[in-house]
Symmetry: C2
Subunit: 526 residues, 2 copies
Amino acid sequence: MQIQGNLIIGQQEKFGSEGHIKAINPATNTEMEPAFGLANLHDVEQACALAQAAFDTYRATTPEQRAQFLETIADEILAIGNVLIERAHSETGLPVARLEGERGRTMNQLRLFAKVVRDGHYLNATLDAALPERTPPRPDLRMRKLAVGPVAVFGASNFPLAFSVAGGDTASALAAGCPVIVKAHSAHLGTSELVGRAVQKAVARCNLPEGVFSMLVGDGRQIGQSLVSHPVIKAVGFTGSRQGGVALMRTAAQRKEPIPVYAEMSSINPVFLMPAALAEKSVGIAQAFVESLTLGSGQFCTNPGMVVALESPELQSFISAASTALAAKPGSTMLTPGIHQAYVSGTQRLSEIEGVTMLAQGQVGASACAAQAKLSSCTAQHFLATPALEDEIFGPSSLIIRCENMQEVQAVAEHLEGQLTATVHAVAADYALVKNLLPVLERKAGRILFNGFPTGVEVAHAMVHGGPFPSTSDSRSTSVGATAIDRFVRPVCYQAVPADLLPPALRDDNPWALPRIVDGELKLAV
Amino acid sequence: MQIQGNLIIGQQEKFGSEGHIKAINPATNTEMEPAFGLANLHDVEQACALAQAAFDTYRATTPEQRAQFLETIADEILAIGNVLIERAHSETGLPVARLEGERGRTMNQLRLFAKVVRDGHYLNATLDAALPERTPPRPDLRMRKLAVGPVAVFGASNFPLAFSVAGGDTASALAAGCPVIVKAHSAHLGTSELVGRAVQKAVARCNLPEGVFSMLVGDGRQIGQSLVSHPVIKAVGFTGSRQGGVALMRTAAQRKEPIPVYAEMSSINPVFLMPAALAEKSVGIAQAFVESLTLGSGQFCTNPGMVVALESPELQSFISAASTALAAKPGSTMLTPGIHQAYVSGTQRLSEIEGVTMLAQGQVGASACAAQAKLSSCTAQHFLATPALEDEIFGPSSLIIRCENMQEVQAVAEHLEGQLTATVHAVAADYALVKNLLPVLERKAGRILFNGFPTGVEVAHAMVHGGPFPSTSDSRSTSVGATAIDRFVRPVCYQAVPADLLPPALRDDNPWALPRIVDGELKLAV
């Protein structure tokens, strides 16, 4: 079945009745067929009612059933074939090789969560035996985590596969046992429909209740806000702008029953270049920096938007090498005309701020929405005095902060808002300085990395793609990696519950072979 | 040193300059000496600055240092001696034996968190090895949790020791590595000062930075709101009214950097009496119910404020036995004149609601603020149609919901807001009915218990004292038990960090002998 422009509501499809929109090819700035019908509030109501009806059944599935469902989604996405990559390429301007890689990543995420569900560590199963002889007697106490309820997921513009309809938020919520309602991102509507239908098929193949998954298309904010306001929805996953994320946070906080919002928003990802590292390899660092800055037209949450270093001949050497590398970079298509326009005006605003010097530019691109990469600089004094210099510019623009001394480097670090990442380039001779910097970076960022660049977020057990506000709405969480599932569960304690009524995770015979904390000691299943 | 009426700011004490208040003995409704000086905004500023200055040092302490600190606090509280119990008794009207038990519980909590810190499971240490041969190569990734930052704790009226200055919130925040600033509850100011000074002494004895602990006294909401608004504060612990908790949630959500609030607020703790259980032991259940209802003048978050059962002769037998037991219960002093007044007007309002029948009352008490226990009933139809019937009445009042059939029982359960607890009385013949009810209760409550009553919250590893809103502000957390520490940590990932710069929890040699997840497999330290 080709792209129909439909909403997906459980096992039904329908063409939305509130007008329609079309996807845009950003390379040519032209509309693409077909039209997508827009959802109305009745569609939201129907998707939520189905999700609620599915919830108790779906969350009671065994780990094996849920793992197989996640693996089936991965299989169905692969089965879409090349039409998915072609459509995503046309809708986003992202290169085919990148999209093939992203498809692989999306499938890996689903399979990682299948493993997480089978392992069951996330259930945090805990048993405290009754102490009938104690005064007063202690009852039998058992605890496990369970799914919070239906989750609303907002697809990201910059990862049409890995952070969208069946991306990390959806995979981790489904893994936790939560039905998911996706609001498709208007930047890649056809891609969304293809993937949404793959999930829909997996639901049917696995004999799950249809309300486990729905996908809506909406223009503007009404459908999204009404989803987040709906009493059935118990958590929200979002990747996008600070403005958009904060709006959802406010809506969620003002509900009769406030709910958690996991919004991954805004980060400038500072890179600290330590003096000895710069003396040893300024040119190599500069070249790798420009690769990271311009990768995917700079459209990564972890794009290195700021470099902090001591004013020095070595910094000049870094700037010179980075400028040369940047000048050779072709302009490449951005995701949407709106994102391109925001990049153009953001870099324009930056260049007009007093104290900011333009150092180098990439080439002007041939396509309609091509980004020209930019490298600027200012002094630490200017940075500290100018709040606007900390605004994220989404795209291949970075700002070098020139510091007079290490006190200024520390002051810049302390001044920063919350970040997804903080990067340090250092060699052994720098470690004494780094030891002062690290505690600050630990307070500011969710991931600290050395001698590399922050783009390229591994899907792994130890990954944290999160950080203090405004990088995310909730620094206690990650949206990438195995522990992303923790966002969608809550603990329930069972006190003196008869054996016949205990959930399998907490039965004496431990049928799921879970690791469990028994009387305060962590025990692996034998 | 006796009670001075002082603020505790790090290792300093001072008499607050913004006027003063006195504690009130609720048994006699008379003021107690001395006066307590009220904090001003400069005091808030100073406490926050000290907390921030202490944070990086304190969170870097070893597990052993932090565990010994928690144990030292417990020792110092015991060393206050009988003056603590006497003062708490005068300030709260709670019986001496109860307060001695609560002191033991407070010390047990501190010692439990010492164990939690030594065990280190809460750090969630996770290591993914580098894969240099992969395309692209995977870097070395390591993750641990660390303290979120300074925490503001609001003491509870109803547990002057176990949920106040050195109660569960403070103990778990300190265990996590967070400095704590307590706002003392005005219902037990002298008790707070004595305990606050014990914590202050423990800070000095353990050579910790003074900003690890401060305690402020304030009237009304200004000091509390300014604490929650302060940029240094990164999380809030609160136990109290729904109105008070929601006000703090709003303040925290409106900050430039929103922060988590863990407010434990309002719960009516429904008790479901299944037909066969009622047929078998209605009198015994009724007597135990009245004990739970009137314990501590009904001033527990988990007080059984609602009973749900089928209309039947067995329910009549339950009501008759409960009424007899209740009529014999003396009126006992409530915590404050304000709480007593709210109880009187709450029960008065309840009695005026159409369809509510008063079934029985306890005795009128002799003391100034004595609560007269009340038992009322209404039909399920009335309950479902009358939102006011779901309002918590803090004190020894409970409402029996008479249901025509099990569909009504289910409907009442579905209708409920979030609860700390849900109780079921059932025997084997009831299990088929209970299997339908349990999934609803799992969605509504943080703790489900059988054949007992919800008062008496064990401090254990498997305990959950939490639940969906409005029972708490954050259903993902518990304020009692080992996992309360999870509220005050956030994950940080270390990517390709040189061995010399790794935190001990993540070093190859695992010096703290932590359980760790290594390449996706949970490993116990050998």
